[in-house]
């Protein structure tokens, strides 16, 4: 301990045990964010060593098989080996630090890898249908169940989804935004109740929104399982999402701006209209688009309030059902017919593209807010 408190000079007496003075004097702090060669070699060495060991054990000695099991064993063996190698030269806290670091990186890679397999597998399974232009322009009714990919497509479900989500946005945007403005700008004891209810509703299963619309609209008011029923169910699921994320966006608006507006004699309404809403606009747009992305992929309420059809129907008030992308994907991949499953995955690619596109738009808006 006394060594560390010594001044950094070359005149240090030689310590018993044969440690050269130079190694004592160069008492540099441990770089926290830089990886030392020791760390690199022991980790890469353990990685290779454990791979060879597990390969030998897993495939040649133990009667095991399967890639997933191999990777799991490899990772566990790597952690053990890395910890063992580190403990040869380092005290326990350093060993624990290294092993935990390896665990964190491993977990991060696992999640990233899984997400990539989800996306890549969807693209790969739908690749056959994606290059047929009729897939995007013809309704499903013009193709047959196991027929060629040159006939039939998903234009009816794409448009159906767009119409349904469009109406749902038209309902949930004013409701959600109004609730958010009420919670942040008007306030009072009532707003706490509203906030609690909205927060609780955000995570209530979307299936129940479908049940609710079914009970009210179809059982009580004798409606039909048509486009507007789906839109209402989607609106019920989207409103709390809009309200909550819009509230977050509004809360970030500095209170000083509001006070400045009021101090200049502006009424409350014009403060909100001219100052708060424009300041929060990018955040509000992000909130809206995220809820659209959520709504367009929403599938469980559709099983309740919508029916499956291959025919094009673009009238939401019609008595007939109106199909949409998630329901189409669900029905086709359950059908068991190879061509139909490929079409389902093709539709899944389209759905993923829509979600990704909306997502990239939100990132763009968020970046604008930061740079301004």
């Amino acid at each position: 301990m006394s060594v560390e408190s010594m001044p950094r000079t070359k005149e240090v007496p030689i310590i018993a045990g044969g440690v050269s003075p130079a190694s004592v004097i160069d008492d540099v702090p441990i770089p926290l964010h830089r990886v030392s060669p020791d760390e690199i070699f022991s980790s890469v060495g353990s990685l290779i060593g454990s791979f060879c060991l597990v390969w030998l054990l897993y495939y040649d000695i133990l009667p095991l098989g399967g890639v997933v099991g191999f990777v799991i064993f490899w990772y566990v063996a790597f952690l053990a080996m890395y910890g063992g190698v580190s403990s040869l030269t380092h005290p326990r806290p350093v060993v624990v630090n290294r092993v935990m670091g390896a665990v964190m990186i491993g977990v991060g890679l696992l999640v990233g890898f899984t997400l990539v397999t989800v996306v890549v597998y969807t693209f790969w399974s739908g690749r056959q249908v994606l290059f047929h232009s009729n897939f995007y322009t013809e309704p499903a009714s013009s193709g047959s169940l196991n027929g060629s990919f040159d006939k039939g497509g998903i234009s009816n479900v794409i448009l159906g989804s767009v119409i349904q989500v469009g109406i749902a946005v038209g309902i949930s945007l004013p409701l959600g935004l109004g609730t958010a403005v009420f919670m942040t700008e008007v306030g009072g004891w009532f707003s706490n109740i509203v906030r609690t209810v909205v927060e609780a509703m955000t995570a209530v299963p979307d299936l129940l929104a479908g049940l609710f619309v079914y009970v009210t609209l179809i059982l009580t008011f004798h409606g039909h399982r048509n486009g507007i029923a789906v839109s209402l169910a989607l609106a019920v699921t989207m409103t709390p999402i809009v309200a909550r994320s819009a509230e977050v966006a509004l809360r970030v608006v500095p209170g000083g701006l509001r006070e400045a507006g009021q101090a200049l004699g502006a009424s409350h309404w014009s403060t909100v209209k001219r100052i708060v809403l424009p300041t929060a606009a990018p955040g509000l747009a992000t909130a809206l688009i995220l809820s659209i992305a959520r709504g367009i992929g929403e599938s469980s309420p559709l099983l309740i309030v919508s029916g499956f059809t291959t025919f094009a129907n673009y009238n939401p008030l019609d008595t007939q059902t109106m199909n949409s992308l998630p329901l189409y994907i669900y029905e086709t991949i359950r059908s068991g017919e190879p061509n139909e499953i490929a079409r389902g995955f093709g539709a899944a690619v389209v759905l993923l593209f829509m979600v990704f596109f909306l997502f990239i738009v939100t990132r763009f808006l968020a970046r604008q807010r930061v740079t301004r």
Partner: protein, 334 residues
């Protein structure tokens, strides 16, 4: 304002100033309250309507609705005990996988990842939350299941002595009964964990990143390693977020419908063996039977929906309380 009488003449009364809101503000306040009330009424009526529709079911079946295990509306016998069990099995498997992974990913993003890719990773987790669940279901059914059944078999081989991991087939047989190891609560749980991870992770990352810098530096200054700092500062600071995020994930796992429905084969036996095929969850039961249900079955399904509503509402409210305790919700100020 009270002004002493000696300096004022007696008939000099203070002017009464009555604050009147402009019309625009009155309209604004009233319409905001109206919208909030409409939203409140809509959400409140979800519970009320489901409860109202459930009265006949409870009248007819009484408590046996909760204790019976089979779902046989044609023979007038319905109960959801096996379904409740399956719901919790799937959710717990999902949570047991998702909790360490979400915790690790959140720590990785907030503590280990280089600054340059941090934003990218945050967007990736958000994107993971936005991927539609039907796509996770398709992935789980076609890609995950063939691999996961080998893991199931391995678990049954070596841990089959635990009743939970027992399977009604010989896992070591040369030609093993593969169909017994698929469509299980275990595989559905793995798939559900993918949907729980982004939710739990983003809550946890939020509280980890908010851990105070001064205390982090203090830990380093006392000679702590990075993991030592995380254990001493970040994890205790984020405890509320860890618990709350996990509870939110549990709420999601309990209600997940379409991915579970794609993977499991519906079965109404009380099945504690999570690796064995056949289970049911409330949401899968409702979604599967809704299309072709008769009037009495419809009422029973709505009652099952009410029970799911109550369970998830309880879990989510608890989560919201725990999360709000761990961070202040005050407005930003300049």
């Amino acid at each position: 304002m009270v002004v002493s009488a000696s300096t004022q003449s007696t008939d000099d009364k203070p002017m009464v100033v009555r604050a009147t809101l402009p019309w625009s503000d009155r309209i604004f306040h009233n319409s905001a309250i109206t919208i909030a009330c409409v939203v409140l009424v809509i959400f409140g009526s979800i519970g009320v309507f489901l409860a109202y529709q459930s009265i006949p079911t409870f009248h007819r079946y009484g408590l046996s609705f909760l204790t019976r295990s089979d779902w046989n509306p044609e023979r007038d016998k319905v109960g959801i005990s096996s379904t409740l069990l399956g719901t919790f099995e799937v959710a717990l498997v999902g949570l047991i996988i998702a909790f360490p992974v979400a915790l690790g990913t959140a720590l990785f993003i907030s503590e280990y990842a280089p600054l340059r890719i941090k934003n990218l990773l945050v967007s990736m987790i958000d994107l993971m939350a936005a991927v539609p669940s039907v796509i996770y279901g398709a992935w789980g059914f076609f890609l995950l299941m063939p691999h996961a059944k080998l893991v199931s078999r391995w678990l049954a081989q070596y841990f089959g002595w635990i009743p939970l991991f027992k399977v009604n087939a010989d896992p070591s047989a040369a030609v093993w009964a593969q169909s017994r190891f698929v469509n299980s609560a275990f595989i559905a749980g793995i798939c559900v964990s993918l949907m729980v991870i982004p939710i739990a992770c983003s809550v946890m990352r939020g509280v980890f990143m908010a851990a105070p810098l001064g205390e982090r530096e203090a830990a380093y200054a006392l000679g702590s390693t990075k993991w030592g700092m995380i254990r001493a500062v970040v994890l205790p600071f984020g405890r509320g977020g860890i618990i709350g995020g996990t509870m939110l994930g549990l709420g999601r796992a309990l209600g997940e419908t379409i991915a579970v429905l794609l993977i499991i084969s519906l079965n109404f036996k009380v099945n504690f063996r999570i690796l064995q095929n056949g289970t049911s969850t409330i949401s899968a039961l409702i979604a599967n039977n809704f299309g072709e249900s008769t009037k009495s079955q419809l009422a029973a399904l709505l009652t099952a929906g009410l029970i799911l509503f109550i369970i998830t509402l309880g879990v989510n409210t608890l989560a919201a309380v725990l999360i709000s305790r761990s961070r202040s919700g005050a407005a930003t100020d300049i």
